[in-house]
C-alpha cells in the first residue's frame, strides 16, 4: 500500500497538483464504495498549486488526506452523515485539520460515517452505507468506515477518524489498515462534532505504523479550545523497548470469538515472543461488564450533547410548524436517524430521576472498578494484546435489525475507551476467505508512542 513517503516521492517527480488530482480521480472512479460524501476539490487544488509554487511547505507538503465528516473543515459541508447537518457549512476548521494544513497536508474530501458517529458499520449513515474495501458485500466497519476504506483503497495515504468506543480501531481491522485511538486528551477535539465527551478521541488511519506516528506527532498537544487536552507527550521512539512483558487478554479469546481471529492473535503473540518479549495470558473480569457500562454512559452523554440540534441556530429546520415545541420535535425527528433517537432516548431514561442511581451512577462506579483492574495489570505489563472485534467484517445488513447484536461487536474496543487508554489496531493476518484481521494493542496512558514502536517492529509486510 502507498505510504506518505511514496506520495512525497511522487510529488517530487511530478507535482502536488498531479498527486491531488489523482486522489480526486480515484474517489470518483471508486464511487461505488460510497466512502466519500463530498469532495473539497476546489480548495484542495488551490492549495496544491500553492505547494507547487513554494508558498506552502511543511512535513506533509502536498500530501492528500481525508477527514471523517464529523470534522469541521472548509471546502464542503460538514454533515456528520446526517440530514440534520446535510448543508451545514463550517465557519471554522477543527484544530486537528489546522495543524495538518500548517504542515502542508491537503484535505481532499469528507468521509462517510454512521450518522453522528453512532454505529459500528457505517450503515447508519443518512447517505447510504460504505462498502468494505476488500469485499463489497461486507460492511466497512464504523463509525469511521469511509476513512478506513479510502486508506485501504490507496486513495489517500492517511485519513482522520474519531474513536469513542472503537470507531477507528474496528474499521481499521475490517479493512486491513492501521488505526490509532490515542490516550484520552492527546488530540484537541475543537471543531469536531461531539458524541460522548468523556470518551471521544481523535486519531488516524494509515497504511503503516510509521505514517501513524508522523501524523500523531503533528496532531498531539494542548489546545486552549479543548480544556481536556494534555501537554504534548508524544515522541516517536526509534526502537521498541526490549524484553517487554505483554498480557494476552484471555477474556477476549473465548469460544464465541471467531477461531480464525483467535489464530491470528496467537500467531502475533508468537512473533512477539520470537523477539524476546514475554507474552502471557491475563484476566480482566470486569471486561464482562464493559459493554453494559458503555451503553449507559455513552447514551447519557449523547442525549446531552445532541440537545444542541434544535433547528434554531444552524442545521436543518422542519417546515410547516406552528409552535416552538413542534419545531424542536419535528426537526429532531426528521434530522436524526433511528439509531440517534435510540441513543438519545436511552440517555434520557438512564438520567431520569428515579433511574439515575440504578443505571448512570452504578455505571460510573463500575467504570472505576474497570479502571482499577487495568491499573493493576499495568503494574506488571507494558502492554496488553487481543482481538479488535470478535469477527472479521460482517455482511451488509447482517446486524441492522438487532441493535444489541450490533453493539456486541464493540465488546473488545469499549474497555480502553472507558478507561481513556491508548489502543491501536494493526493488521495481524487474514481469514481463509481473505478478510483482514487486526490485533489490538492497549497500553497505559501516554504509552501511545511505545505501542506504535512495538507494532512497527512486527509490521505485517
Amino acid at each position: 500500500m502507498t505510504t506518505i513517503s511514496d506520495i512525497k516521492d511522487q510529488i517530487k517527480n511530478s507535482s502536488a497538483r498531479a498527486v491531488v488530482e489523482n486522489s480526486i480521480k480515484l474517489v470518483k472512479d471508486k464511487s461505488e464504495y460510497n466512502a466519500i460524501l463530498n469532495l473539497t476539490e476546489e480548495r484542495a487544488l488551490i492549495r496544491a498549486d500553492k505547494v507547487d509554487a513554494g508558498l506552502i511547505g511543511g512535513k506533509l507538503a502536498g500530501v492528500p488526506f481525508v477527514v471523517k465528516d464529523n470534522f469541521l473543515a472548509f471546502g464542503a459541508p460538514t454533515t456528520a452523515a446526517s440530514k440534520m447537518l446535510e448543508s451545514f457549512d463550517a465557519p471554522l476548521q477543527a484544530t486537528a485539520v489546522e495543524k495538518l494544513e500548517a504542515e502542508g497536508a491537503i484535505c481532499i474530501g469528507k468521509a462517510n460515517l454512521d450518522a453522528f458517529a453512532h454505529g459500528g458499520s457505517t450503515e447508519n449513515s443518512a447517505f447510504g452505507p460504505t462498502k468494505n474495501a476488500i469485499d463489497q458485500t461486507r460492511v466497512a466497519g464504523g463509525s469511521s468506515g469511509g476513512s478506513a476504506v479510502v486508506t485501504a483503497l490507496d486513495i489517500v495515504p492517511f485519513a482522520l477518524g474519531t474513536d469513542t468506543g472503537g470507531s477507528i480501531r474496528q474499521p481499521a481491522s475490517f479493512n486491513g489498515v492501521v488505526g490509532v485511538k490515542p490516550t484520552y486528551g492527546t488530540v484537541s477535539r475543537y471543531g469536531v462534532v461531539a458524541m460522548a465527551s468523556s470518551t471521544d478521541t481523535i486519531g488516524v488511519l494509515t497504511t503503516n505504523t510509521a505514517d501513524a506516528e508522523l501524523v500523531m506527532d503533528i496532531m498531539s498537544g494542548k489546545d486552549e479550545r479543548d480544556m481536556t487536552t494534555l501537554p504534548d507527550f508524544f515522541e516517536i521512539q526509534p526502537n521498541p523497548k526490549a524484553n517487554q512483558k505483554i498480557g494476552l487478554i484471555k477474556d477476549f479469546m473465548a469460544d464465541g470469538v471467531d477461531p480464525e481471529v483467535r489464530a491470528s492473535i496467537n500467531e502475533y503473540a508468537d512473533k512477539l515472543r520470537a523477539d524476546g518479549h514475554t507474552v502471557e495470558e491475563v484476566n480482566l473480569p470486569m471486561i464482562e461488564y464493559a459493554l453494559a457500562i458503555y451503553y449507559i454512559i455513552v447514551p447519557a452523554e449523547i442525549s446531552s450533547n445532541l440537545a444542541r440540534y434544535d433547528g434554531i441556530r444552524y442545521g436543518y429546520r422542519a417546515g410547516n410548524v406552528k409552535t416552538l415545541a413542534e419545531l424542536y420535535g419535528q426537526t429532531r425527528d426528521q434530522g436524526f436517524v433511528t439509531e440517534n433517537k435510540r441513543r438519545i432516548m436511552i440517555g434520557s431514561y438512564v438520567l431520569s430521576s428515579g433511574f439515575f442511581d440504578a443505571y448512570y451512577l452504578q455505571a460510573q462506579k463500575a467504570r472505576t472498578l474497570l479502571i482499577n483492574e487495568f491499573n493493576e495489570l499495568f503494574k506488571t505489563y507494558d502492554a496488553l494484546i487481543g482481538p479488535v472485534a470478535p469477527t472479521t467484517a460482517f455482511k451488509l445488513g447482517e446486524n441492522t435489525t438487532d441493535p444489541i447484536k450490533m453493539y456486541l461487536n464493540d465488546i473488545m474496543t469499549v474497555p480502553a475507551s472507558l478507561v481513556g487508554l491508548p489502543a491501536i489496531s494493526v493488521p495481524a493476518g487474514f481469514s481463509k476467505s481473505g478478510m483482514p484481521i487486526g490485533v489490538q494493542i492497549i497500553g497505559p496512558k501516554r504509552s501511545d508512542a511505545s505501542l506504535l514502536a512495538l507494532a512497527r517492529s512486527k509490521e505485517l509486510k
Partner: protein, 104 residues
C-alpha cells in the same frame, strides 16, 4: 455470557416511549414507535446486568484525564468567527436576531 445476552427483563410500554420522546424533544412518527419500544426494552435488559455488581463504597468516575480545575485567563479569545458568520447559518434571521415560531 460473554457474547450472548438475555433480555426482556425490562418492559417499556408505548406510553414510556412517548414520555422518553417528549423528554428528548422528539416528535416520533408512528412507524418508529413500535420498533423503539422493542429496542429500548432489549437494551435496558442488557445493561441491567450491572445491577448484580457490588459497588458499595466505590467512587464513581466521571472523567479520565486526571486533570483538575483547568483555568484559562479571563479574557475574550478571538475565535475568528463573526456574528455575521454565525447568523448566516441560522435557518431564519431578521435584524441581527434569529427568528423562531411563537413560544405560546
Amino acid at each position: 455470557m460473554f457474547l450472548g445476552y438475555n433480555s426482556y427483563m425490562t418492559q417499556i410500554t408505548r406510553d414510556d416511549v412517548l414520555h422518553l420522546a417528549q423528554l428528548s424533544s422528539l416528535q416520533l412518527n408512528d412507524v418508529e414507535i413500535d420498533g423503539l419500544q422493542t429496542d429500548i426494552s432489549n437494551i435496558l435488559g442488557y445493561v441491567e446486568q450491572l445491577g448484580k455488581l457490588n459497588t458499595d463504597g466505590v467512587e464513581p468516575t466521571y472523567q479520565v484525564t486526571g486533570l483538575e480545575s483547568v483555568w484559562r485567563d479571563d479574557k475574550v479569545i478571538n475565535y475568528g468567527v463573526s456574528r455575521e458568520d454565525l447568523l448566516a447559518r441560522a435557518p431564519e434571521s431578521f435584524d441581527n436576531q434569529i427568528k423562531v415560531p411563537k413560544v405560546l
